[in-house]
Symmetry: C2
DNA sequence: CATTACTATATAAATATTGATATAGTGACA
DNA sequence: TGTCACTATATCAATATTTATATAGTAATG
């Protein structure tokens, strides 16, 4: 499991469950997502296990917030996870599984529609990553060089995100070209 | 959930659970993995739900195999999943989460070691994808053009895999260059 | 004929994850 | 005052997933 470790990483600063969910939606989404209904019980369990501590904080905008911070033990567990080395080979990419079985659609136009939709998703995703980059670079004039540690590593993940989404977009275009060629070919074959 | 649909996709041809696991290890691994202990009960459940049918087949190499094939209903469910459009935004990439929190390691040499290990993983991965491509292209002289439907779509996923892993590898090199520059900078700063 | 390696199926227990739903405070607006 | 939108915390039930383990046949080796 990684969510446990991801929360430990996020809780170097105090945050409430609701806070954390917002961070997932804004940036961690790009490599991991979690629902509130998973976050709340996990925070409670991790506190029971001595990895986190919590306190109530009054709020001006709503009910009192329960903010968590990681303990020294929590930090050790996070560091141990990083020290184990990169966890490669556990990736999960649903849309690729779909493409793998796309021949089941029979109708090539349906495949083309699928791929156009995927392309649109990727284009939106790219825009959102570019927005993040713009925001970060206007927040910090040193961007992307000479950043403090946390921003430095976050920038690295963003850089990979940009590269990969751009590769995806290119690939969608190539797929569409090949699908259309295939469609034309099928038409010719039928008419001869 | 997608494993259910992935199994439906794989069971256009009859396969045993053991078979399916081998296919995961060989190629689906690149976008999804599953253990035997998940596959067996799920196959049983899907059969109970009328999505699959099974029969026992004697084997010359070991105990009798239980092979499953999808039913017409199973195929409809697969097609419905594809028709819903691409499932984007559910990706899970553990190693990127790790990079995001790599600043917790404090010691920049530990970060460099992490990234070198990641680079080695990516290099191996790239080799294995290139092997698959070589195998496919020697199996089918028409590769990668003019392929039958199933091979055509499988080839598309392979093409994306190659693109993304290559992008990852490039990115690792850039990261390493930046980490080393950062290390040199830290040394200078300390000595002045 | 004992051991090892490989093929094959399977279950149990523990965890993780999703999807639906409940509850409540605050601020704005009609 | 009612109600809508938003912030916030939380639980339940249903599923999905991982890790460890059990069982057995076949085939080759010594």
């Amino acid at each position: 499991m990684s969510l446990r470790h991801i929360l430990l990483g996020m809780l170097g600063e105090p945050h409430s469950g609701y806070d954390l969910k917002k961070q997932f939606n804004q940036s961690l989404r790009n490599f991991w997502n979690a629902e509130l209904s998973q976050i709340y019980p996990l925070l409670a369990k991790m506190e029971k296990d001595g990895l986190l501590s919590s306190r109530r904080v009054a709020s001006s905008t709503g009910p009192p917030r329960k903010v968590y911070t990681r303990s020294a033990r929590g930090r050790r567990e996070l560091v141990a996870w990083l020290a184990e080395g990169p966890k490669v080979g556990e990736e999960r990419i649903s849309y690729l599984a779909q493409v793998y079985f796309l021949d089941e659609l029979e109708d090539i136009d349906a495949s083309i529609a699928f791929m156009e939709s995927l392309r649109a998703h990727m284009a939106r995703w790219l825009t959102s990553l570019e927005d993040i980059e713009r925001r970060w670079s206007s927040d910090d004039p040193r961007y992307p060089y000479d950043l403090p540690d946390d921003a430095f590593y976050a920038q690295l993940t963003l850089a990979l995100g940009l590269k990969k989404v751009a590769a995806n977009l290119e690939w969608c275009d190539e797929c569409l070209a090949r699908l259309r060629a295939r469609k034309a070919l099928a038409r010719e074959t039928r008419s001869t």
